[in-house]
């Protein structure tokens, strides 16, 4: 594995311009001040109640995601590249979904193998030939980006179902503004606080045509026990929309209503943070207590918009990922601005042979896994882990893809011993409305707090940073 590119000091120890002011400030500020602010930040997070639940931990039902007070900084030119790349990518995601549930030209052209679509559990036959309002499927996406050198950003993953993390982007900034006003005064940081406004504008723009001029938007949450519940309530609050659970909604004659203290009120747009499977017990999992009976029929009748649409999993699936550059080219006739990480598809025999021979240097991921679970990082794994993965791979090669172990870029981070480089990734959030695509400059930077670790997932000990896009 190569030495990682450091976003402050480059690969060669040369201070990069975007970090000049931060670097000077880090040299000035006494370590105890930094430590004091770090503890203050933690206290603030706990008081505000920004917590998340970790599945499978009986006791620690509410934990804080560690917050690192040193911001991650992107120059305006870097952001410009990212922004253009993200827009292009998300356009392609939407065109692809429309095609898959419509004419299926991409399959006829042989760009994507049919079985990857039709035998995929996240493919929704209910959506075949189904028109969705304004042909938009993915309204809110979080595209995970990693960086390996000065110019190379890779898309690591598309999240087109119910991506989370945007509340951290917003709260991290709030807390930084409170704790480090002097550091802000040395930079011109593009604001992110307009994200809720942009989101609301996006959601209203995609209301069905039958809706009134001022459509009613709600946010549908699985409830307080969901790991992202804080984010759901935070967003509903900022959007000024009702935070509803399945039991607050009902469907009558193909129209969705919410139960209010003044009787039933019609709902036009549902920003749902519930997975497809649980949306409607009549259409999907009959045992779901989280959903709304009849919701799917109201959706199919065109009386309500679901954001994101049903069936978008077919585009952010890890098995489809490796086809994205070809998909993008097929619809837009352009080269991808943001590259894919080179990927071996274990379903193809030559690829599988290569992967089995190089397990100790590759990252192997489950096609349907998420959150950093069920994955092998070859260089970090011991012999037993590699052996057990080898067996899994041979049993079900279609279930896996493999990628080189990327030397993710690092950023200066507060650790026990002071300030040290730690690996980071970036999740910007892309909003697609009827009128246009909106992206606030920044995103959620996740950081692997353990030295050398590449796993940034919050469920596995990762932390977050504020992400600054410089405005010049």
């Amino acid at each position: 594995m190569r030495v990682a590119f450091d976003e402050m000091n480059g690969a060669d120890g040369q201070l990069r311009p975007a970090y000049a002011a931060l670097s000077a400030w880090l040299r000035e500020v006494p370590p105890d001040v930094l430590d004091h602010r770090r503890r203050e930040a933690e206290l603030l997070f706990r008081r505000i109640g920004i917590t998340f639940a970790v599945y499978g931990e009986a006791d620690a039902t509410e934990r804080l995601i560690p917050f690192d007070v040193i911001p991650r900084i992107l120059a305006a030119s870097e952001w410009d590249l990212l922004r253009r790349g993200l827009e292009q990518r998300v356009k392609a995601l939407n065109l692809y979904l429309r095609d898959i549930y419509g004419r299926r030209e991409v399959l006829r052209a042989g760009v994507v193998p049919e079985d990857l679509v039709f035998q995929n559990p996240v493919f929704r036959p209910e959506m075949n030939g189904q028109k969705v309002p304004h042909d938009i499927y993915v309204h809110i996406s979080g595209i995970d980006i990693v960086r390996v050198d000065t110019d190379t950003f890779y898309v690591l993953e598309d999240n087109a179902r119910t991506p989370s993390g945007v509340s951290y982007m917003l709260e991290n900034r709030e807390i930084m503004l409170r704790l480090f006003p002097e550091l802000f005064s040395r930079h011109r940081v593009a604001p992110v606080e307009n994200y809720p406004d942009e989101l609301l504008a996006t959601l209203k723009s995609v209301a069905p045509d039958v809706a009134s001029g001022d459509p009613t938007v709600v946010l549908l949450t699985p409830g307080v026990y969901n790991s992202a519940y804080y984010e759901h309530s935070f967003l509903a609050d900022k959007l000024g929309v009702e935070l509803v659970e399945g039991r607050d909604l009902f469907v009558k004659s193909g129209i969705v209503y919410m139960r209010t203290t003044q009787g039933p009120r019609r709902v036009d747009v549902i920003y749902r943070r519930i997975d497809d499977d649980f949306l409607d017990p009549l259409a999907f999992r009959p045992d779901s207590a989280l959903g709304v009976a009849g919701l799917m029929s109201a959706y199919q009748a065109g009386n309500v918009t679901l954001a994101n649409a049903v069936g978008t999993g077919i585009v952010d699936d890890k098995a489809i990922y490796s086809y994205m550059p070809a998909i993008l080219k097929f619809y837009l006739g352009e080269e991808p601005i943001l590259k894919n990480v080179p990927t071996w598809r274990c379903r193809e025999s030559e690829h599988l042979a290569y992967v089995l021979d190089h397990l100790d240097e590759l990252v192997v991921k489950e096609v349907h896994g998420s959150g950093g679970y069920g994955m092998l990082i070859g260089p970090m794994a011991d012999k037993t882990q590699i052996a057990s993965f080898r067996t899994k791979l041979k049993l079900n090669p279609r279930g896996f893809i493999a990628q080189p172990t990327l030397a993710l870029s690092t950023c200066p981070t507060c650790v026990e011993a002071g300030v040290a480089p730690r690996h980071v990734d970036l999740r910007p959030f892309v909003l697609t409305g009827r009128d246009r695509i909106r992206i606030v400059p920044g995103g959620l930077t996740r950081v692997a707090l353990k030295a050398g670790s590449l796993v940034v997932n919050s469920s596995q000990g990762g932390g977050t940073k504020d992400t600054w896009v410089l405005d010049h």
């Binding site: 309530s233 009702e242 607050d248 203290t261």
Partner: protein, 313 residues
Amino acid sequence: MLSRTADNLYWLSRYVERAEYLARILETTQRLTALPLAYVGESNEWSTAVSTAGCSAAFFAAHEEANEDTVCDFLAFSTENPSSIRSCFEVARHNARAVRTALTMEMWDAINSTWLELKRFGNKPSSREELARFLQWVQGSSLRFDGSAYRTMLRNDAYWFSRLGVFIERADNTARILDVKYHLLLPEHEQVGGPLDYFQWSSILRSVSALTAYHWVYRESVKPWLVADLLILNDQMPRSLAACYTNLVEHLDNIGRVYGRQGPAQRQARAIKTRLQNSRMEEIFHTGLHEFIGSFITDNNQLGAAINQQYLA
């Protein structure tokens, strides 16, 4: 607003109010039992505390004897008792979290800090002083929550539903004290307790935070029928049944006005308020204090059910 949101706000306020009431009961009981027997008689005050809290059945299912240890544990710290102070704060915080969007930052901060601090108090206080500190803290937390709501909430339906919770619960609490101690409040010629009762009367007043108010209102020494008058009919006394109903009618009317529609809840609240306004203490004693309070508790529960039916379900 969502019915579920209104329901959560209503119960959030009820549970915070109940926690404070339990703390007051425990505090006054501790005071009473600290007095020499000659002043308070032989009755088991700890057992009375349990019935005043309205959970005798559950308590005696879990404990054989009502004493300081078992009662304090059951009413303050038990996780088995769904109405212990701890459980009240747990449920209140759970409800608050479910309706974060309907709370102001100050209210959330009040209830969330309470919940965080609750963990610091162990399961058993190491001393009476520590228990006393805990009970003080409970009352302070409730005041802080109530004050945050009063000071920071928009005066809209969310506020009114949370107030309804406060006053339904408060009316129930005051009525329960009266129900358990009614025999102490009967006029002198029906006296059952004798001069020892002075400390009982003042403990009733203390448990609804009305001892000072009593002296201001009546300007004489504590007399049982005046205690009853203060807690039932005196509109100026914030915890009296009459004051609770003045508030309930007002907040229900606000909701009715803004929603443009009145319903059974408004009618029932007005009927109960009118009954209280038209009552005289002499008549109440004449027809039976116990019966009067019993039927009030039933009416109050029915109003709670009507509010639930009309708005929260």
